[in-house]
Subunit: 348 residues, 2 copies
């Protein structure tokens, strides 16, 4: 089998991370890189990523790159919403390349946009390729990992899970969209006008879980509340005085037969430790048996998302054509050996 | 789609549990039950399981039951070793039924017996059916769950995991095979003559993990040590005085490139709490990132094995024909809705 040829589309911090990971793994070759930011175009991608020169120049012209380099897989790390990534996915698929994207809504795209999802699925099947949305959350901690744990249960009454993380390392965009550094009044206004969004992906995670278990979700109720700090907290990008907002406590409940059977919570703030909050990923299944799982500290979001994007390549290459979700594919696994061998071993 | 017709082969405590679970799930029908013990033959299976009468009589004649009831799936809960279950799997497969077995060696059968595994794979493909080995361990805690967690890692240096459980509820056979109630001298002799076996499944788990990651295992070193009790412990089946053996601490290391990169440990004893040992499932991945997972208390082995056997039915029905392992199939998930709907949703 020839090297697996990969194009990275989007060179922000997630896209740069997955491009770097592709370059460091056996059996894969980064054959092209597409930047959204014109300033990056023309630079050597290896240099841009802080590695050796590669001879592969960053381009701003997706169609040209894809047609010239004929990749097996395009990793798409550009936006969060289906509407934004749809034309990009279409370009990838119509050029007969598999597509793995970290767009949050693509974790379960039929929910937000059944029409565009149907078009993606059809185009993928017609072109014999596979499209997958993945990432740490949605895509892993609050859905894939929960689904797998339920596999050891004869019966499930309720699922509660929370991902408690630390926003301190993030930049100004994240501070703004989570409302960090606002007053409670500004936070409320930000939620109303949509400038403070909290976490993107709860409905997707709830539908992934329910779909895997065979539950029909009747409604989803989401709640975004300010985490008001009792102490002074600061990062290079924001200062939070006592009484101000240190983050957004976003939660969602999924109802089945009138009962909230899936409860997910994702409080995101800077310096949670300053008020004794321990970061971690927590899953609690009430059923037969009860299962209580903890991962402390939480799986880091950036590294996790980058890892999943690249680690799912063998699964996507081996999948039947069409639009897939994490629940449809074999277990995610870290690619440690030559990826060509992993793909061959997974071929049926 | 018609009801999924299931035959349960083997009516010990695991087989009885999965038969009961099949009867309680939507879209599945227990159409036959095969006992290894002649005394159970002729009884109504519902009554035998402590449920309503079903009209399905337990039989001692596997071929007759399978040919008459034409099941989609046969759940095989009879033995631990490939050599013992091979003729049974052959009977199932040659009658064009899928087979899910809890035989520990079937979790990764190519390891212990590539010849018989090849025959099973060929027979399954020829007959258009799928064969899977599963269970809590091997099959889930010390392999599937580890593999899934590595999916969020860019790189792995070492995997350590342990499953610390309580043998107190088990009967005399388990006490004997784990050496509970022996003196240290008797324990040593039991290990030598093979009457004390410890855990069955470490090599299988190690190869499942390595296979999923693309590591080549050079050797596996196993170690079985007596857990010598400092206090008095007893169960209805055994008494352990101080200085005697309360259980077997079984561990295994898998080597890749000269280094022990997979270390699994499974100390099994009665009343671990009497010396302050907390039961639980623990996974520690040293890599990028590090991941430390705990499930406390441990997922109960019996319920977990029963649940996985039944929960994997939709995955097995939808799989391509052949001999599969847990790493080859989509995520395990608890069957909560009508299983027919789950199978339809998973059909590509």
């Amino acid at each position: 089998m020839e090297e697996i040829r990969v194009v990275q589309w989007g060179l922000g911090s997630m896209g740069s991370g997955s491009a770097r990971m592709v370059m460091q793994k056996k059996g894969m070759e980064l054959v092209g890189a597409i930047a959204q930011t014109p300033a990056k175009a023309g630079r050597d991608v290896g240099e841009l990523l802080g590695l050796e020169k590669t001879g592969v120049l960053v381009s701003g012209d997706p169609v040209e790159v894809i047609r010239r380099t004929r990749p097996h897989v395009v990793l798409l790390s550009t936006g969060s919403f289906i509407k934004d990534v749809f034309p990009q996915i279409k370009t990838v698929v119509e050029n007969r390349c598999h597509c793995i994207t970290i767009a949050e809504e693509m974790a379960y795209p039929r929910l937000q946009d059944p029409v565009l999802s149907g078009q993606i699925d059809r185009a993928a099947r017609e072109n014999g390729v596979t499209v997958l949305g993945t990432g740490i959350n949605p895509g892993f901690v609050l859905d894939t990992l929960i689904i797998v744990l339920t596999g050891a249960c004869m019966d499930i009454k309720k699922i509660k899970a929370s991902r408690i993380n630390d926003l301190s390392p993030y930049g100004p965009t994240v501070m703004r969209t989570q409302g960090v550094g606002t007053t409670p009044g500004e936070f409320e206004k930000g939620i109303e006008d949509g400038s403070i969004v909290g976490h993107i992906g709860f409905p997707e995670s709830i539908h992934l879980i329910a779909g895997a278990l065979g539950w029909e979700v009747e409604k989803i109720v989401q709640c975004r509340e300010p985490i008001i700090s009792a102490v002074y907290r600061e990062t290079p990008h924001v200062k939070v005085h006592p009484g101000m907002v240190a983050g957004c406590n976003h939660s969602a409940k999924g109802y089945v037969n009138g009962e909230a059977v899936i409860e997910l919570q994702h409080p995101q703030q800077i310096h949670p430790g300053s008020e004794g909050v321990e970061t971690g990923d927590y899953i609690s299944i009430e059923g037969t048996p009860d299962i209580k799982m903890e991962i402390k500290p939480e799986i880091p979001g950036g590294i996790g998302t980058i890892a999943l994007t690249v680690n799912m390549i063998p699964r996507v290459v081996n999948a039947a054509p069409g639009l897939k979700t994490m629940k449809d594919l074999p277990l995610p696994a870290s690619v440690m050996g030559d990826i060509k061998g992993l793909i061959e071993a997974g071929t049926v």
